[in-house]
């Protein structure tokens, strides 16, 4: 575990109740992996399921946590990143209460300060949401 619930908010800009990632499990040049538990007090928990915006935000925050962690490892401060675009979005399923979501980010391309990543989150190996994101890093 690289970052946990207690210290991940030192790396990502989001604060409660908008934090949609609990733990950063791994981060390397190929991508990042995180986990997140569905809780009843989540602002996107509705109709007994965690809704799509939370899952998309979970992907974006995993990217932020991963890049932030890598920045810190090389002695820098986490840079601010923005979602530039989301494409190829597919929603397959929504997780229920107390589910653990595992999110996997793969780096696809980088051009200057724009990163293209593929994000997927899973619950018990069931694919929930997949998309590509362009992240602009300041």
């Amino acid at each position: 575990m690289l970052l946990n619930k207690e210290n991940i908010t030192e790396i990502i800009p989001q604060k409660a109740p908008f934090v949609m990632v609990d733990n950063l499990i791994s981060a390397d040049e190929h991508g990042f992996k995180s986990s997140f538990q569905v809780r009843k007090d989540n602002i996107f928990f509705k109709d007994e399921k965690l809704q799509e915006p939370a899952l998309i935000e979970n992907i974006a925050q995993t990217v932020a946590a991963g890049f932030g962690y890598v920045d810190r490892q090389v002695g820098g401060e986490p840079k601010l990143g923005f979602i530039g675009a989301i494409s190829k979005l597919k929603v397959h399923a929504l997780p229920t209460l107390n589910s653990e979501i595992i999110t996997i980010i793969k780096h696809l391309y980088q051009f200057e300060n724009v990163y293209l990543v593929k994000g997927e989150n899973f619950c018990k190996n069931q694919l929930l949401v997949e998309c590509e994101m362009k992240i602009v890093v300041q």
Binding site: A85, F111, E112, V114
Partner: protein, 82 residues
């Protein structure tokens, strides 16, 4: 790959990716304006270049690339370096 093939290949994938009529892709036309590229679109351009020609381009490679003709020359040069 000769220049003619490069031009046809580039026209095919650029018109498809950026939804531009092939007739607008002329040698002296401005690449950025014709394709309506913003900074985010350049990632897509990098992706389709690698998919079609098998090499990566960087920001430095685009320095001095204004027209499609410049772009064809860049592709020719990169292919020769492979």
């Amino acid at each position: 790959m000769n220049r003619e093939t490069i031009i046809e290949t580039v026209k095919d994938f650029l018109s498809d990716e950026f939804e531009v009529d092939k007739s607008k892709i002329q040698p002296d036309a401005n690449l950025q304006e014709t394709l309506d590229l913003d900074s985010l679109d350049y990632v897509d351009l990098v992706v389709v270049i690698e998919e079609n020609f098998g090499f990566k381009v960087t920001g430095e490679d685009f320095v001095g690339i204004a027209t499609f003709d410049d772009f064809y020359t860049l592709v020719e040069k990169k292919l020769a370096e492979k």
